[in-house]
Symmetry: C2
């Protein structure tokens, strides 16, 4: 089925977004669905439900590496089933409100996780992180006043690390910005390594921007604790099957085009649970993985 | 003492060269000294010896992370002490010939090392490497016909990996070119990891382009053997003291300038011997480090 151009355009933007993490994109998807709930062209509640369900599927499928997109949208779809369907206008408003409530709940979860994460940081801690995560951004915001120092890797190919550095620079956080290749050199200067997550796997492994695994390896080798800070929405259930590692346009590397040379641009890697010192969720710090966040 | 502009210019080029490895730069320095031996302005053999000794020191000091520069130039200086000094013209020619002989000996060493390295590769092996090394280039040249496949990381900030890919592309070697952040993702697809070296430390650790340590960590974690291929000229002696890790202009990263953010650009890291499966020198494969190459 052909979707109208305004929806198709927002879907494309979500697919191509490299500047935001998984939670933020999940909230953007919920906002699209809230708008569609209010304005989607449908002659009956059943028709609207079908339209919203189809679009929720398209949005979740746009970023298969990002569990919160799947989880929050599925939760929203479940909530639709419980809404009274006798009045079209009321159904529209209630469906939109459910989406906005989930956005709010996702934001609150980020704040709670960050607050627990800050409990692992001392006054003046040096924290190394990789890539851009709204959860980590919130950690820097909450703990910035306590002399927190940052080591931020650029996170090729599109250098989301520069965006993180720009944001925390405004909060006066002393930051060292490094190439991804220098992660091993600078990890040993950190007290703590901490990253957000695009998805958490059922075994506790973390799917996050490519390079995270390297930071975890270096942290382990150098005796620096490596934490994953992420909301419970990010947990993939076994039913979701094997996690896909999205590959993006090789042109993003701006490498020369050469015969016999294939440029690869896999965006995510998986860090096994054995390299993770602890998981920080709304529950607080989890030192032994027990299958939930 | 002020050096003449032609020497000062060649010294600066050597200092700023990011496109060549340590052995190649050592050979370039020897060529400069051969030219200076023939043409350096001096009224006596003693004066010429002093001039050449001073310039050899300046050239070796230009790249403190690169042991072969130090070792080959020191060897050359020793050889000068043994030359007859009764005839200025003969001394000049003999000193230049010694330098050219060392260049040739360095070239031969690279070929021998590469030939031993190829013995560790099977028909159709997939080899992952990091940065640009003339020794690794020679491995690809010698083994390219045997279906060797390559995984090459870009090696930020100046992407020497692109130069390596361009060269081996011409030899028809099927190559995957990746960001440094993807090293952990692609190491598991390799049969062998192999790098050159800027210096080898007395304990067998390797000083090489930043990111090498990450490749070694990933290789160890994934069960991929990690070899260092390097000529004996690259070994640092304990007398040379602690190895310096050169830091280059942060502008090379092309990162935004931000308040509170310091851009760091350390060029080299050190991979400890515990992560190295074997060292390959002119002697062949060394499985247990015994202090020499």
């Amino acid at each position: 089925m052909q979707e109208p151009e305004d929806f198709a355009k927002r879907l494309r933007l979500l697919e191509q977004d490299r500047a935001h993490g998984a939670s933020e994109l999940a909230r953007q998807a919920l906002k699209i669905l809230a708008d569609n709930a209010l304005q989607g062209a449908a002659g009956s509640v059943d028709e609207l439900r079908a339209l919203l369900s189809r679009r929720a599927g398209l949005l979740a499928g746009a970023r298969p590496s990002m569990a919160p997109l799947h989880n929050l949208l599925e939760r929203w779809q479940c909530s639709l089933g419980e809404l009274a369907s006798d009045d079209m206008g009321r159904f529209r408003r209630a469906a939109a409100e459910e989406a906005l409530a989930l956005i709010e709940s996702s934001r609150r979860a980020v704040q709670e996780v960050a607050s627990h994460a800050c409990n692992q940081l001392a006054q003046g801690s040096i924290l190394i992180t990789h890539s851009l995560s709204s959860t980590m951004m919130e950690v820097f915001r909450q703990h910035g006043g306590k002399g927190l120092k940052a080591i931020v890797s650029e996170s090729r190919p599109l250098n989301e690390g520069y965006n993180l550095a720009a944001e925390i620079s405004r909060w006066g956080i002393a930051t060292r910005l490094i190439t991804d290749a220098q992660i091993g050199l600078f990890a040993k200067e950190a007290d703590v390594a901490m990253v957000g997550a695009d998805s958490l796997l059922p075994d506790g492994g973390v799917l996050n921007k490519a390079g995270t695994y390297l930071l975890a390896l270096a942290s382990r080798d150098l005796g620096v604790p490596f934490y994953v800070a992420c909301e419970s929405f990010k947990l993939r259930t076994p039913e979701m099957g094997k996690a896909e590692l999205e590959e993006m346009d090789p042109a993003e590397l701006k490498a020369p085009e050469l015969p016999n040379v294939e440029v690869r641009n896999v965006y995510f890697d998986i860090t096994p649970p054995s390299l993770i010192t602890g998981w920080i969720s709304e529950r607080g710090l989890i030192r032994e993985w027990d299958g939930r966040l």
